[in-house]
Structures are given as C-alpha cells and as structure tokens.
C-alpha cells in the first residue's frame, strides 16, 4: 500500500520538471538555449495565481499562464534568434527579472513581501481513491506528443535540422530563423504550464520563491534524457519518486541528522540511472550558436 502511495506521490514533483524539460528539449533541438525556465515558472505561476485569485476561473488562469510563457518566449526568441544576442545572458536576465516582478506584484496587489493569499486550484480527479491532478495526464500526453512530433514528423525533422546543421537545413529550404523562433515560443509556453501547475495546482498560492530551483532541475533533465521527451518522462518521474522516497525516509527514520543525506537521494539516484542506462548524451551540434546567413 505504501509503495503504491509513493508511486502516486512521485507524480506531483514530476509535472513541472517534465513540462520544463520537454519545452526546453524542443527549443534546444532547434538550436536555441533558454536557461530562463526558472524565470518562466515564476512568471506564469504569478500571473495565473493573480487571475485565479481575482476571477476564481481556473481555466482562464491556465490560459493566462500559458500566454505568459509564450510572451517570454517571444522576447527570448527575438533576442537570441533575430538579434543574435547571448542566449545565456538573456536567460539569466529573465530569471532575475522574474524574481523582481514577483516581489513587486505581491507588494502592489496584497501589500505582502512573500506570498499571495490562497487561490482557487485545479480540481483533482480521483483514481483508486487517490486524488490526482488532471494536469499530470495532460503533461505526460504532451511529452509523448512532443516525441512523436520531433522524431516521427517532417516538421520535427526540419526543426532538429536547425539545431544540428542549420546551413544544410537552409539549403533544403528551411527558414532557420522562423523555426527557431517558433520553437522558442513553444518551449517557453510549455514551461509556462509548469509555472501554472506550481501555483494553481500544487501549492494553491504564489510565493516569491515558488520555483525553488525546479527550473534548473528541468534543465538537468534535458541532458539526462539525451534531448528525448520520452526519456524525460522517465527522468522526471524517477526524480519525483526518489524525492517522495527521501521524504518518507526522513519522516520514518526520525534521525534529524540523516535528513540532509536523504535530501541528496533524488540527485544521486537520478544520476545513477543516467550513468547506467542513458549512456553518453549527444548535444545538438549547433546549440546556442546564433545563425548568421551568408
């Protein structure tokens, strides 16, 4: 009974890690790096929480969160694809900007420095007596769809070509700039859904550090999965499972001193799985390099 509980509890932390990773895989497969996932999580968590608080309409909150991600994607896309700016700098800037905006909004709207009031959340569905968020299944479906798109469709092949050998892709008639731009927007939009999940599903309110480094774990999951959305499901789920197990061990062992050791389990465990099963990762060849037409 208890292993079954852990298996279900692993789903909660999985969702944002998977959404962030799948989005980033699409973006990076096209040749653009966006390390601003953390910032997108924060911004979308914020906007969706605000909408949920003031309208009580969860669907609208989700849509606004998605749109927030998309807008950020447009900005990062313009900077890194069309203006050929430094993609890392843009991403870091985004993370800092998001944190600042979060705090300022909290002060402006609720005169508080740390967190919003509780907001309405996504209603759970009950499976075998255990409440599960519908976003969990949507997320897994998105990951599978992303894999199908990237590896089984023509459009996916074109997208990957932009990240591997843009010159050859262009010779084939692919509009590199446009594909990269759209991939960046799509990736950021998915990360936006991850942000929505954090505030309007998981926590039920916005707090200024709600993402708590999950955007960076999602980035690590991209490399873990070797830029493959299907493996990303496994990566995120394994991390979630070890996370839930670590909490279980912390609670039942009742040894405060071991807690910090247990906290390392998700990282070590995922690393071990990557080392044993995933093998050597291969980075898209043209990743992070702005495309300059000759």
């Amino acid at each position: 009974m208890f292993v079954a509980d852990l298996l279900i509890m692993a789903l909660t932390p999985m969702v944002p890690l998977l959404l962030g990773a799948v989005g980033e895989i699409i973006t990076e497969r096209a040749g653009v790096v966006n390390i601003g996932i953390e910032g997108i999580f924060l911004l979308s968590a914020l906007t969706s929480a605000v909408v949920s608080f003031y309208t009580g309409n969860v669907t609208l909150a989700i849509l606004v969160g998605l749109a927030t991600g998309a807008v950020v994607g447009v900005l990062h896309g313009i900077i890194s694809v069309y203006l050929r700016g430094d993609q890392i700098v843009s991403g870091v800037g985004l993370n800092l900007f998001a944190y600042g905006i979060g705090v300022i909004t909290l002060i402006t709207l609720w005169n508080t420095f740390g967190n919003s009031p509780p907001v309405k959340t996504v209603p759970k569905i009950s499976i075998a007596g255990r409440p599960i968020s519908p976003l969990t299944f949507i997320t897994i479906a998105i990951a599978i769809a992303a894999w199908y798109f990237l590896f089984k469709t023509n459009a996916g092949l074109r997208l990957r070509a932009c990240g591997e050998d843009p010159r050859a892709a262009e010779a084939m008639g692919v509009n590199i700039m446009r594909v990269r731009f759209l991939a960046t927007i799509l990736g950021a939009t998915l990360a936006g859904l991850g942000g929505v999940y954090l505030s309007v599903d998981w926590v039920g309110q916005f707090t200024k550090e709600i993402s708590a480094g999950r955007g960076f774990i999602a980035l690590a999951n991209v490399a873990f999965s070797n830029w493959n959305p299907l493996l990303a499901i496994i990566g995120a789920y394994i991390f979630g499972f070890f996370d839930a197990s670590a909490i279980y061990l912390s609670i039942t062992s009742a040894q405060p001193i071991l807690t910090y050791l247990f906290k390392a389990i998700p990282y070590l465990g995922t690393l071990a799985v990557a080392a044993i099963f995933v093998g050597r990762a291969r980075i898209p060849a043209a990743l992070g390099k702005p495309y300059i037409k000759e």
């Binding site: 509980d5 509890m9 909660t12 932390p13 705090v103 909290l106 709207l109 609720w110 005169n111 508080t112 420095f113 740390g114 967190n115 009031p117 509780p118 759970k124 009950s126 409440p131 954090l198 998981w202 926590v203 039920g204 309110q205 707090t207 200024k208 550090e209 709600i210 708590a212 999950r214 996370d243 839930a244 909490i247 279980y248 912390s250 609670i251 039942t252 009742a254 405060p256 001193i257 807690t259 910090y260 906290k263």
Partner: protein
C-alpha cells in the same frame, strides 16, 4: 538671416540660464539645507535573514517590532535583506564602516557567523543578534534568545489532546533547518507530548521532520502530505514560508480524503490564513525582542551579553483570541483575508475549533505546566551542541521527561 540669428541668441540665452541656475543652486545649497537638528534621531538598521520579509511569521514579526519602536520611541528604522548567505558579511561590514547607525539589529541564526567575524573590528558599532548567540560576550553586542521549549511544550500537550479528538494519536512537526532554535522547539514539543502521555496514560505517536528549507511551500506540502499519510492529526509548522504548504495540505486532505486534520502555526498568529484548519499558533515574539534591543539603545540601558525571553516575559506563548483578531485585522486591511471571511468571523471559527478539539482536561494540563514554568519550578535545557540535542531527544523518547530539564522535575 535675422531669424536664424535670433534663434542662435535664444539658444545661447537658454544655455546660459541653465548654467546660471545650476551654479546658483550649488552655491546656495549648503545654506538652504538645514543644519544639524537639536537632538539627533537614533538610527537603526534591521537586517533580515535571507528569507526576508513576507514569511508572515518570523521576519514579519521583526518588522512589526521595529515599526512599533519607530512609532513609540521615535527612531529612524531602515530595513535590509541580504540576497544570499555570501552577501551577509560584506553587508554587515559595509554598514558598520558607514557609522550611520546607532544599532544594527540582526534577525536570525544565519547572522551568527558574519557577526562573529565583524563585531570585534568595529567596537563602536552596537549589534543586537535576535534568536541566536555567538557564544561570546562583547561590550558592543547583545544576543536575544527565546526559550522556545516553553511554548512548544504547551503546544505539544494541546496537539496530543487534539489528535485524540480527531480520531488518532499521532502528532507531527514540519521543521525548517536543523539549527539551534529548532532543536529547542523539538525538545519542547516532544516534552509536551510525553508529558501528556505521562499524565493521561494515553499513547502519543510523535513525528518530526526537517525539510531543509524555510522558503519552499511546495516542498512543505509534499512533506505534510506524507506526515498525514503516516496518520498525523495535527502538524506543527516550524519552517517559515515552507509551512504555508502545510496549511494547504491539511485543507486538501479534508477535501480529498474527507478527514479533518489540523495545522498549528508559529511565531505570528497564523489562524487567519485558514481558520477552519488552524486552531492555534505558538507565539514567538520576535517583535518584543527587536523592540527590547532598540529600547536599550534609545533609553541608554544597554547591557551586553545574552537575554532570554520566555513565557514569564511574554516572549513566547500561545496566541489568545485577541492576538488572533489583531493579525486577522492586519490581513483584512491588506486584502489578504480569504473571501467571505472577516476578522470577527475568523475569531469565531477559531474559538469554535478550540472549544471542540481542546478539551478542558487538556487545558488543565497546559495551565499546570505553564504555572511550573512561569514560577521557575522547572526550566528547560538548552543544548549547546548537536550531540547534546540528539541525546536529550533520545532520552525524551524513552519517556525520561527530566532529561530535558535543567532545573526541577516533573516525574
């Protein structure tokens, strides 16, 4: 031609005018600024720990105390939050060097090391360290500590009693980091549970967990869900913003599983956040500590060393309904109170919960214990090392209540 020349002259005239005004301003400026005022206002800087304001408990309470000092004692207060652990020491040195402030109030355990490395270099700068101690007596430093064991022990008794009313016998606590103030909470809370066991003969199952963070409510919710899964009926939140996730979890537990469970807040009165599930909060009057430190500087009653605040001094305790109302009113003013709630209604709900789940025999136990503490018949140990802390906890688990006491006996 003429037109162009007039234009030129106008432009030159404007430029000259601007230069004239600017020069005039700088010449006249020293005269127009007011000369030093008769009595210089006392200036105080309050330095939060990295969590910063907004936890609705620890740091916000510090802010409250400083605000009260600025109103009642007429001091000038600035607030600063370091961005990260690495920024703490440079910030402290910079402020000490500036000689701008009569007192630097350092809020939280994390300032201990930066202060230790800074205090001796600036003998003229006064420091007040809140909720921690460097263990060194310096003429320019005062450390204000709380006897958290005292309030946590009362909460332990109440939580145990409540667990039985909620149809179980497990109580839990969600703690932040494994640091000295939390050790004291742990000792007190476990003591309370064991005291309840000893006096009533009813078994209490005790869970305590460190999340390792004070800022991540998502993690807090995950931990709390598992504590509830282990049968906890009440979860004591001792993790700053992290335990906001506890409040969310107990609410979710009732809607999703149909079982009523409760959460207990700490530091500030947190009942207003969800009065249906938070029947009480432990009080840790960080505001009183900050105010006390500032008062010492303003009134010239500075005394170096360590000051501890406990039940007797009103430094710790359990928030009464007036406290609950005050915090609910603050929340209502800021538009943070949940829809359909008013301060009155929140107090009414909390009152109802307390009447329903805290039986009179439990209050009797609490009052008896409180009396012994306030009268000084018993006093708790404060562990100096982690080993000592673990040893006390192990003894307590065996039911050896006196192992937690530095003075007196309850057996």
């Amino acid at each position: 031609m003429l037109k162009a020349q007039i234009g030129k002259i106008v432009v030159i005239a404007i430029v000259l005018l601007i230069i004239g005004v600017a020069v005039g301003y700088f010449i006249l400026k020293p005269v127009t600024t007011p000369t030093p005022t008769v009595a210089k206002k006392v200036e105080v800087a309050v330095l939060f720990d990295v969590g910063g304001r907004g936890d609705l408990s620890f740091n916000d309470m510090a802010w409250l105390g400083a605000e009260r000092a600025s109103k009642e004692l007429g001091v000038e207060v600035s607030f600063l939050t370091p961005k990260s652990l690495a920024d703490m020491k440079p910030l402290l040195e910079q402020l000490s060097k500036s000689k701008k402030y009569d007192l630097l109030v350092l809020v939280g355990f994390l300032w201990t090391t930066p202060l230790n490395e800074t205090a001796d270099k600036f003998p003229d700068q006064k420091f007040a360290l809140i909720d921690a101690t460097t263990g060194i007596v310096r003429p320019n430093e005062v450390d204000i500590l709380f006897r958290e064991q005292e309030c946590a022990s009362l909460i332990g008794v109440i939580a145990s009693g409540m667990a039985y009313e909620l149809g179980g016998n497990t109580i839990a606590a969600l703690a932040g980091m494994d640091i000295p103030p939390l050790w004291k909470f742990h000792i007190g809370y476990l003591f309370g549970a064991k005291y309840f066991e000893a006096k009533t003969g009813k078994k209490v199952n005790f869970l305590w967990v460190y999340t390792g963070t004070f800022t991540d409510p998502a993690t807090g919710k995950q931990y709390t869900m598992q504590l509830l899964e282990q049968g906890a009926k009440g979860v004591y939140g001792l993790a700053g913003a992290t335990h906001l996730g506890t409040f969310e979890a107990v609410k979710a537990w009732e809607t999703e599983r149909g079982e009523k469970v409760s959460a207990i807040g700490q530091d500030a009165s947190q009942e207003w956040i969800d009065p249906y599930h938070i029947p009480l909060s432990g009080a840790k009057r960080v505001d009183v500590a900050v105010y006390t430190a500032i008062e010492m500087v303003v009134k010239g009653t500075w005394k170096e060393g360590i000051i501890t605040l406990g039940l007797k001094e009103g430094g710790v305790g359990i928030w009464d309904l007036d406290g609950v109302r005050w915090f609910a009113e603050q929340a209502a003013e800021a538009g943070r109170l949940a829809e359909g709630l008013t301060p009155d209604k929140a107090v009414e709900i909390v009152k109802g919960l307390r009447e329903k789940y805290i039986k009179s025999y439990v209050w009797d136990l609490v009052n008896e214990l409180k009396k012994m503490i306030v009268e000084g018949k018993i006093a708790f140990k404060t562990p100096m090392t982690h080993d000592e802390y673990v040893k006390i906890i192990e003894e307590l688990k065996k039911g050896n209540l006196d192992a937690a006491l530095a003075k007196g006996s309850v057996s």
